[in-house]
Every structure is written in structure tokens, then in C-alpha cells.
């Protein structure tokens, strides 16, 4: 790991080099048998159980398939910003990638089904060992992106 003191929110779900957060991508596996893209590195395909998988790094851009707005803070334990403000949460179809869930960092009124978004990795919280945990969210992308 080239960034001492940083860890991914879960192994195999982000590209390995965490030093430059702008260069971190969501990662996983693509199945060579059924073709499905899976968020998170796997040893078998969640869809067809095949062991024939290849590592995948996913595009940082995508389209909102559907969304909701969380009006209340989620139950503990959470690491959401204080003070609480309502925030959109969406299923996002990554370009040529899987559908993933993520918070969209913007005013709730500005999101819609079909909106374009871009990945943003950040230090989400500090874990029990004192490491900075790299997590992800999305932010609105220019429509031309």
C-alpha cells in the first residue's frame, strides 16, 4: 500500500493505490463466463457461480437509475456529516460497469433519474486501529461528461 495509514472501506472494492484520492476508482470483477460486472473483487461470480473472473476497474462516471432523499440521519453506527442535512442516495449505472449504490453530494432538488454523476473518493471515517478509511460518494457531473 503506497499510502500509509489509509485503508479501503472494504478490500477489493477500490483500486489499490490510495495516495491520490482523485485517482482512486471503484473496482471489482468481471465474469468471463456470463459477462456480468461485479462491484468488489470475487473468487466466484455472484450471478453464475463461475470461477473464471478477471479484475475490473470501473469508470468514475455514471447515470442515476433511481434515487431517494434521506430526510433523517441513518441509524448508528454511521459516519455521516454533522450537522445533518437531507441528502440524495441513488442506484448509479456506472458507464460500462455495474449498478452501485451511493450518496450524491448535492442539493436534493438538483438530482433526477438520468442525471450524470462522477465518483469522488474521500476519507470517510477513522477505524478502530486509527487508520483513515477511504470511502466514496458521487457528485453531479457536467452533462457533457
Amino acid at each position: 500500500m503506497t499510502a500509509p495509514g489509509r485503508v479501503p472501506f472494504r478490500d477489493g472494492f477500490l483500486t489499490r493505490d490510495l495516495a491520490d484520492l482523485d485517482a482512486v476508482h471503484l473496482a471489482g470483477s468481471t465474469c468471463n463466463t456470463c459477462g456480468i460486472a461485479l462491484f468488489g473483487e470475487r473468487h466466484r461470480c455472484e450471478n453464475c457461480s463461475s470461477r473464471d473472473l478477471r479484475p475490473a476497474v470501473f469508470a468514475p462516471t455514471g447515470t442515476i437509475f433511481t434515487y431517494t432523499v434521506q430526510r433523517y440521519p441513518p441509524p448508528q453506527p454511521h459516519a455521516v456529516p454533522e450537522p445533518w442535512t437531507p441528502r440524495p442516495l441513488a442506484w448509479i449505472d456506472l458507464d460500462k460497469g455495474p449498478r452501485v449504490m451511493g450518496v450524491v453530494d448535492c442539493e436534493p432538488e438538483t438530482v433526477a433519474i438520468g442525471s450524470r454523476v462522477r465518483l469522488r473518493c474521500e476519507i470517510g471515517w477513522i477505524d478502530a486501529e486509527g487508520c483513515k478509511v477511504v470511502s466514496y460518494k458521487f457528485e453531479p457531473a457536467e452533462q457533457s461528461a
Binding site: 472501506f9 433511481t66 431517494t68 441513518p74 453506527p77 442516495l89 449498478r99
Partner: protein, 382 residues
């Protein structure tokens, strides 16, 4: 093959029971079921206890209050589908001829508010705040509105129906009727779902006595046949499991596939149903289940609401007991609340919420990580 028949059902009122130990809740439901069947507990040959938040060996602890008769009683856990998984085990043992009398029951105690997330989600999902259960249904609802023109008012109409039916059910947690306008004026929790469109996790217990058809007449003049009891864990993808809201794989939703398996096992179709209890975690999900379970074509769920088809007086009354929205949801016991309602309807004992014709009914649940269950019940006497 031996057929499995329900000869007794029981349930506590679902709701807040802070001062009642969970073993007492369970034994109240079991006692009612035994009385319904005019049966002694020592006649039970096998038991299955369903629970989610309660501790290890909950079933064995319940045996301590009912009598240690030396039978097997494992816990069966499967999130909101825990109870159907237990009922299925009992059904299969009866059908296989291994035993003649089984007790299937569930019990839960849980606090107010959003469910404690740590046993349902990974730590990182908790940290990122992806742990409000209703948000998953809200995401489906938003897409359904976009694709099919379903409105908040449709959802409020479903919620109002639940409250209306719950007001007729003395076992329901929420027994106050509420207008569509009141529901639409309640606080938004996760768009487009408002507070009074959501079910509440509650305390409670439910039980069913399942026996072989050979001996059912000893315990009931009106046995109810378990025509099918199916349970499955969703295929990929998981949480966005419905057919209109999934990473395209070609798989049907777990709701549709489990229902199809049940219909095939029972040799009936959705057109044969007289009554149904479905997993209305929220008012939108009920509309979704109309479509996924085959009550109507895809995209036409809201039309059933508009046409009153699923009201008590409609062609296919749904959630006559108030559904999860009014009855409340004690996870491990929830399916037994549904089964209780369908059995009472088929036996003609549903009092002020009795529907006109009830010979065949469905009870359907769905829980975290893709647990889905469908039980089909039908009149088991001539």
C-alpha cells in the same frame, strides 16, 4: 404424498410489549394455536422457532416455558423471511411422512425506529449510511413512478386501506383509520415514502400447528391445507431485486420466481386467489407485489388501487388484516401473522373484516439479503 394441514393458529397482538419476556409472548401464541386445535403441547413431535433479533437458542428457551418434552426445536433465521423458512421445514417433514404433528412459530422483540443495522448490513454500509431499510423500497418506488406514472396518492391510498383494515383487527399494532390526506401530510422519510406509508418493527409472536391430512380431522372440522410453501434467496442482483429495478441479468425477481414455484407446486394460478397478505414494508411495495406476484400485468399495480380491486369488498382483497403497515412487523413472527389472517378468512372467522369468498389465499414475505417466501393456503374440508 401426505398433505400438510393447519389445524390451529395463534398470535399475540403485534406491538409494544416491553414488559413481557419473549418466551411469554411465544407461549401465548402457541397456547392459542393449541387451543384452536384442541391439542396438548406434549402431542407436538417437532417444533421450529423463527426469530431474527432474539438470542441463540430462543426456541429451546421457549420449550422451558411450554414444557421440556424432549422434541427438536431449532431456531430458523432468515431476516423478514425467517418464519416462512420455518413453516416450510415443518411442512416438508409432514409431507415426507416423518412426523404427523409439527409446531411452527416465530417470536420477536425489537425497539422503536429504524431497525438496528449492524446485524443486517456490513460495517461500511452502516458508516456510509446505506442502512435505512425504507430507502430500498423508496428507490424502487421512484423508478416505478418514472416508468409507470404511479403517484404518491396511489401509495397513500394503499396506506389508508392498511389503516382501515387494521382498525378492524384487534391483533394489529395500529388500529386507527387514517385518511389519504393525513397520510400525504405526514413527514417525508425517504422520498417518495412518508411516515404513515411505512410499517413499524414491533414485538410479537405467532404460531401454526401443522399436521398430516390423515389425522387432521381429529383436531379441526375446518383444516386449512398448505398447498405450497416456498422459500428462496434471491438470484443476482440482490437488494434491487425487482424486475424493473435490476442490473439486467434476464432473471425474474425473486418475488416472481418464488410465487411461480408456489403456483406450480399447488397447481393453481393468481386468478384462483381469493385473498392475499403481501410484504407491505411500505405502501409502494404492495403495488409492486401486485405486479410481481401476477395479480396484474407489469406497470398496472396502481390501476388495481384506483379500481378498488384489493379492498375488503374487491375482487382480490389484499392485506385484510392490515398488512405489515398496520399490523406491525415482528420479523421472526411476521409470516405467522399473515398465515393467521388467511386461515381466519378461509375458516370464516375474520369477523368484521371477513371477505365474501375465501377458499384460496396467499401469504408472501421478503427480507434482507433476498429472503423471499410464498405460502399458498386453501380450504381443506368438503
Amino acid at each position: 404424498m401426505t398433505r400438510a394441514m393447519i389445524v390451529g393458529v395463534g398470535m399475540t397482538r403485534f406491538g409494544r410489549h416491553p414488559d413481557t419476556h419473549f418466551t411469554r409472548l411465544a407461549s401465548q401464541a402457541i397456547d392459542e394455536a393449541l387451543d384452536h386445535a384442541d391439542m396438548e403441547f406434549r402431542d407436538i413431535q417437532q417444533a421450529f422457532c423463527s426469530r431474527v433479533y432474539l438470542p441463540s437458542a430462543t426456541g429451546a428457551r421457549v420449550m422451558e416455558t411450554m414444557g421440556r418434552t424432549g422434541i427438536s426445536c431449532p431456531d430458523v433465521e432468515g431476516a423478514c423471511g425467517a418464519a416462512v423458512a420455518g413453516l416450510r421445514q415443518a411442512t416438508m417433514m409432514i409431507e415426507a411422512g416423518q412426523i404427523d404433528i409439527a409446531l411452527a412459530f416465530g417470536v420477536e422483540k425489537i425497539g422503536k425506529g429504524f431497525m438496528p443495522p449492524d446485524i443486517l448490513y456490513e460495517d461500511w454500509q452502516c458508516r456510509m449510511g446505506m442502512t435505512q431499510n425504507p430507502q430500498y423500497w423508496a428507490l424502487n418506488a421512484m423508478r416505478h413512478m418514472h416508468d409507470h406514472g404511479t403517484t404518491e396518492r396511489h401509495m397513500a391510498m394503499v396506506a389508508a386501506k392498511a389503516k382501515r383494515n387494521g382498525a378492524l383487527n384487534p391483533k394489529a399494532f395500529f388500529q386507527t383509520p387514517m385518511s389519504v390526506e393525513q397520510i400525504l401530510a405526514s413527514p417525508m422519510v425517504t422520498d417518495p415514502l412518508r411516515l404513515f406509508m411505512l410499517c413499524s418493527p414491533v414485538d410479537g409472536a405467532g404460531a401454526a400447528i401443522v399436521v398430516s391430512d390423515r389425522i387432521a380431522h381429529r383436531y379441526s372440522s375446518k383444516p386449512v391445507e398448505i398447498a405450497a410453501c416456498e422459500h428462496a434467496v434471491s438470484r443476482f442482483p440482490l437488494l434491487n431485486a425487482s424486475s424493473f429495478c435490476a442490473t439486467p441479468t434476464g432473471h425474474p425477481s425473486v418475488y416472481a420466481s418464488t410465487a411461480r414455484a408456489a403456483y406450480e407446486a399447488a397447481g393453481i394460478g393468481p386468478e384462483d386467489l381469493d385473498v392475499a397478505e403481501v410484504q407491505d414494508n411500505d405502501a409502494f411495495s404492495e403495488i409492486e407485489y401486485y405486479e410481481e406476484l401476477g395479480f396484474c400485468a407489469p406497470g398496472e399495480g396502481a390501476r388495481l388501487v384506483e379500481d378498488g380491486v384489493t379492498e375488503l369488498t374487491g375482487r382480490l382483497p389484499v392485506n385484510t388484516g392490515g398488512g405489515l403497515q398496520a399490523r406491525g412487523e415482528p420479523l421472526g413472527a411476521s409470516h405467522y401473522g399473515q398465515v393467521y389472517e388467511i386461515v381466519k378468512q378461509i375458516q370464516g372467522d375474520a369477523r368484521s373484516r371477513q371477505i365474501e369468498r375465501a377458499r384460496v389465499g396467499m401469504a408472501q414475505v421478503f427480507g434482507a439479503w433476498g429472503h423471499c417466501g410464498v405460502t399458498l393456503l386453501k380450504r381443506g374440508w368438503a
